[in-house]
Symmetry: C2
Subunit: 328 residues, 2 copies
């Protein structure tokens, strides 16, 4: 790998733009891992709180200028609608990643607004229903999946930076493409929010009697409908195209269940397919894993990383330029 000036494995400086729950947790976790860190945020409250906790917070233009100067990794941790403004001040050649929950739209923005940046997309699959600097912790990412995009042409040196940072926070890394990430999270993260909202509404339409009888299945199936609506909307609406596909799949399957129940009275296909699918989830989570390695200097590295992700595998360590992975 062609390391930047002063590059030593595991010690690249980290600049985080956006100091809410996720960005604030990245800043803390990177500092806890021994990195030199600084941050920037448009929120005066978050800036004051981060400074009060001893962190170096400067304005965004100064933060990214310093990052270019020190060849640091910039982590964009603002909501999707605010990403473009940050990208406008990013210098050419800067090492850049992000933690936004949708990857295709961010990649498009980077290509349009900051084409000179050395960008690799990221998405740590962690969060709580709280928000803001105060809600963050250095431990937020421990055990979580952190998606890293590995497109044809991706800068493997920056990808290694993101990998090191993610591993340093205690996450494991799932490599994939922006498109596959967006399709997957539409199915397993955004559709669950839409269905929870629909279920909650249909239940509440049953009035106080229905709610008085609600037990486990309704409580669990609607819990995420209690999340802040503006956050859920930003997440779901930001992944519009992939979410439409997932909603169409759900509509098709629910319509088929309706048709079968109305015509034959049976729900065998729906219930049995759902049971098999749930078992696939449980089996995959319980599967014995085997170790494998990916040589990040190989010409097939990006292809190997994507293959690992599509098999449900993950990177759990880095030894020089060799990624240590586990897969079922």
């Amino acid at each position: 790998m062609s390391g930047g000036a002063g590059r030593m494995s595991g010690v690249r400086d980290v600049c985080v733009v956006g100091l809410g729950l996720i960005g604030g947790s990245v800043l803390r976790a990177a500092a806890a891992a021994g990195r030199v860190v600084w941050g920037a945020t448009a929120s005066a409250a978050d800036a004051d709180a981060a400074r009060a906790d001893g962190f170096d917070v400067v304005d965004t233009a100064e933060a990214v200028r310093r990052a270019r100067e020190r060849d640091a990794l910039v982590v964009v941790a603002v909501p999707l609608p605010a990403v473009e403004d940050v990208l406008r001040v990013v210098p050419d050649g800067v090492r850049l990643t992000d933690v936004v929950s949708v990857k295709g739209p961010v990649a498009e923005l980077v290509a349009r607004v900051a084409p000179g940046a050395r960008y690799v997309g990221g998405h740590p699959m962690a969060g709580t229903s709280a928000s803001g600097w105060q809600a963050g912790t250095a431990e937020l990412f421990r055990g979580a999946a952190w998606v890293v995009t590995a497109e044809d042409g991706t800068d493997l040196d920056v990808l290694s930076d993101v990998l090191e940072l993610a591993l340093a926070t205690g996450a494991h890394v799932v490599p994939t493409t922006a498109g596959e990430h967006d399709a997957a999270v539409a199915r397993i993260s955004h559709l669950p929010h839409v269905l929870a909202a629909v279920l909650a509404s249909v239940g509440a339409d049953g009035g106080p009697l229905a709610l008085a009888l609600a037990a486990g299945s309704f409580g669990e199936g609607t819990r995420v409908a209690g999340s802040r609506p503006e956050l859920v909307r930003a997440m779901c609406e930001g992944n519009r195209s992939a979410l439409l596909d997932a909603v169409d799949d759900a509509l098709g399957r629910l319509g088929a269940a309706r048709g079968s129940l109305a015509s034959t009275g049976g729900l065998a296909k729906t219930i049995e397919a759902g049971h098999a699918a749930r078992r696939a989830l449980v089996d995959q989570q319980a599967a014995e894993l085997t170790d494998l390695t990916v040589d990040l200097t190989s010409p097939q590295a990006l292809e190997a990383l994507r293959a690992l992700g599509s098999r449900g595998g993950r990177i759990v360590g880095l030894n020089g330029s060799t990624a240590l992975a586990r897969t079922s």
Copy 2:
């Protein structure tokens, strides 16, 4: 109230037909509450296991004959498809309730097959994913809602029997009609199973990558898809008509979300309605309750009971012929 021979509050004998998870738990809980109990079951395994635990298990015809003789309460605790065979041997005049998860179809069967029985429908909203005698416990109903049907013409003396039994097991009682019960559970119990199956299938269609990224919302939203398919089918298919209405509501709401996302890119209405609905659930569960009483000898008793249920209220005690209730 016109009590039966030997009637003393709280000491009516109990005969349970069907000794699986629910029936076996009713038998144990009634015995633990000091009642004379006996049971019957078509399952030799459940019969042997119940006898081994010291319970009196006889054949079904003998069990219900003895119930008529002693003016006991018969509790039908077999799956819906087996209810008709039990009803065929029920003597005229017997005090009869059931614990089947759907009430309209059972009431229709009773009217057709055992019109001479003094029937009041019941449904304890409790269960686990396990089944059979061995899975039952005397504590299964503690804190659970136990629905009791209060139709025009319902025998208030038998309703009081069911109420006493339910309260003796530690449950609270929600009075309503068979139709309202079936509509409510379609929304808060059966639809959640159908949506969980749909969500699990759409997620698994995303392959190992999607399942590797699945976190809280998908795990929770699909958990009940892990229940035994034959039990879920029996429950959902048994409530076909009401479930069709609930599925149609869900299809309408999901279709509206799809249309809005496709046309304007927005999900405000869906997500905000879902959030308000979830809040209604949480608020109702956290609401301060006020006490009220229902005089079961009053000509308006059935109406008062139904009104209590539609307000989300419940009966928590019985003092002679006065039901002690709580409502928000």
